[in-house]
Symmetry: C2
């Protein structure tokens, strides 16, 4: 690599930032450059524990990271309620922004972030890692192949994990002043993204929350489900929860094909990931059996998906920095659509499970 890698500053020492630090180290066009925390000791410990080079800068505030002129890009894993403030400030300081999900508390907030990124010419991307796995490209090819998959008719997605009692009492994801969107913002984000992805990011016409969400005493969603309806008759449902064993399913069914995977957010293994694809299956009439049976497809990856994400983000940031290219609008557009649906699910819960029109 003749080109200088994109220099990352990390705002805060969230657990997930450990994974991202490794990803930045692994990506060939990115480097760990700075970390800031409200406690400089915490930042120093984080840098030492997460492979930062000796030359890396350790700061006692987020501002100091943004004020460092050598920081090209920031990774922001702060609680959702802080996203709009720090992502906007970062963009104003001309830093490219890799932002954890959910991107904001609502789309109005998110639009302020997008506006700041656009007016400052910086790249925005949310940290939805699985979007960058080469498996996702292969699955998209299957869904887009009209002879193998036909026309998309329905999607089901489910992301749950069994949070412990400490998490359910104390984690930022159950606190109304921090990650106020709870399970919907945390795990539901992925379900919504997977549904939109399968629908090639065509927005549904309406979103209806299903009855039976679980909220904590502060009103934060701990478990919920919703259904989505498109103009052309496509339907989708998802379920997300902090109460159930780890499950990460996507099923997309077309007129001719079926896609299944059970580890869409985080693959079972790092070096490779699989999906199941069925095309024009039928059951035999007299003897039990399917012809043809769905087939398993395994896709290798040269980097973990989070490092693929950092590589793509850094490629775009590098193009802007070195070649004066424009930011890639695809990424904030996908984030915005995901947030729109998330907002609609929440609105539908608030309206007693009435359908909510999705207005772009």
């Amino acid at each position: 690599m003749a080109e200088t890698p994109i220099r990352f500053g990390i705002l805060g020492c969230a657990d997930i930032a450990r994974k991202l630090s490794r990803a930045i180290t692994l990506a060939p066009n990115a480097t760990l450059y700075a970390v800031g925390s409200r406690s400089i000791d915490k930042a120093a410990k984080f840098a030492a524990a997460n492979g930062f080079p000796p030359s890396a800068k350790v700061y006692g505030s987020y501002d100091a990271v943004l004020d460092d002129p050598d920081v090209d890009a920031v990774y922001v894993p702060l609680p959702t309620s802080l996203h709009v403030k720090w992502a906007v400030l970062a963009a104003e300081k001309k830093k490219h922004v890799l932002l954890e999900k959910p991107v904001a508390l609502n789309v109005t907030e998110f639009d302020r972030i997008v506006e700041a990124c656009e007016s400052n010419g910086v790249q925005f991307m949310d940290a939805t890692m699985w979007m960058h796995h080469p498996r996702t490209v292969k699955m998209r090819e299957f869904l887009s192949d009209s002879s193998l998959f036909g026309q998309l008719k329905s999607i089901q997605s489910c992301f749950t994990f069994a949070a412990g009692s400490d998490f359910l009492q104390n984690d930022i994801r159950v606190k109304p002043d921090l990650d106020a969107l709870g399970a919907l913002g945390d795990v539901g984000w992925y379900c919504i993204r997977s549904i939109l992805w399968a629908a090639d990011f065509e927005l549904p016409k309406t979103v209806t929350a299903l009855r039976g969400p679980v909220l904590n005493a502060a009103g934060v969603i701990l478990s919920c489900s919703a259904s989505l309806n498109w103009e052309d008759g496509k339907v989708a449902t998802f379920h997300c929860s902090f109460f159930s064993n780890l499950t990460m399913d996507v099923t997309a069914v077309g007129t001719k094909g079926t896609l299944h995977l059970r580890d869409f957010v985080i693959p079972f293994e790092e070096e490779k990931a699989s999906f199941s694809a069925g095309t024009e299956s039928w059951f035999t009439e007299l003897v039990t059996g399917w012809v043809p049976k769905p087939s398993e497809h395994t896709v290798m990856t040269d980097l973990p998906q989070e490092a693929c994400m950092v590589r793509e983000f850094s490629r775009l940031a590098g193009g802007i920095k070195r070649n004066g290219l424009k930011p890639e609008k695809k990424w904030p557009t996908l984030s915005r659509k995901t947030q729109l649906i998330l907002d609609a699910v929440k609105a539908s819960i608030d309206k007693g499970f009435e359908p909510v029109e999705v207005v772009s």
Copy 2:
């Protein structure tokens, strides 16, 4: 087998009766004894093509089958609208009744069938084959194991197949005077059964149809979805359709475990069937991966699931016939619960997707 096998009469020559004829032949305690059709020629051809012994009786009416004193049991694959008439008549003639699904057009009709079977002391069973696969027993063990699966929280089920244009125009399953419940009665029946099965047949409190069902010009459902809610917070959704590629999914998620299978109605292969079971899975923090990964379990079967069904039905019928035992109430009870939910889904569609209370 020292005991005389149960002698089956088949009412009508439906396609599915071919599979059941083979199953009756394969079951060690059952034998093909008679077939009746409104056309005696059709009945004769059916008997010749489906392994009936030369001694088998071929009748030109359903009544003649019921009037044959040597027929112990009937298999009734007639259109749903004819179930109540012929199942009641069969019971009154002291024939045990193996009835295709959906068991009736509504639970009021079904109760007449149950009453006739009870008052005549004959066994009732619906022909939901997968209930009798040994895999189903093994999966039940997993779901019932509190250390492996925990408490059930959510279930998703999907059964679709891509019907051709001839089916969508002419099949009895799209005709309001024949199988008036359409896709809900045909494929939705299995989804509902799988959900109830996973919930150990505890009835939900409410059923809510989801928006977006597709009905034909005559008002028959060709595609629909619904959600179910239990008192304790359990939730389930299902999707059934005649428009999508063959898909047969059940996912049940508990606090500690996850069950997955993709061929619940008809296994991919005849001799064996698999399911995936995960327990207390987690993702690793830094390196992509799951620990532990879900495991695949394969269950062999000595007979195809439909023959297991015939064997169990014949065992119960034989116990009544030879030993004066009482009919097993479990089977009509499960049928009735399934029909109750089916009725509730239909009622919810008719009420504009309002939740419908399930009253047993």
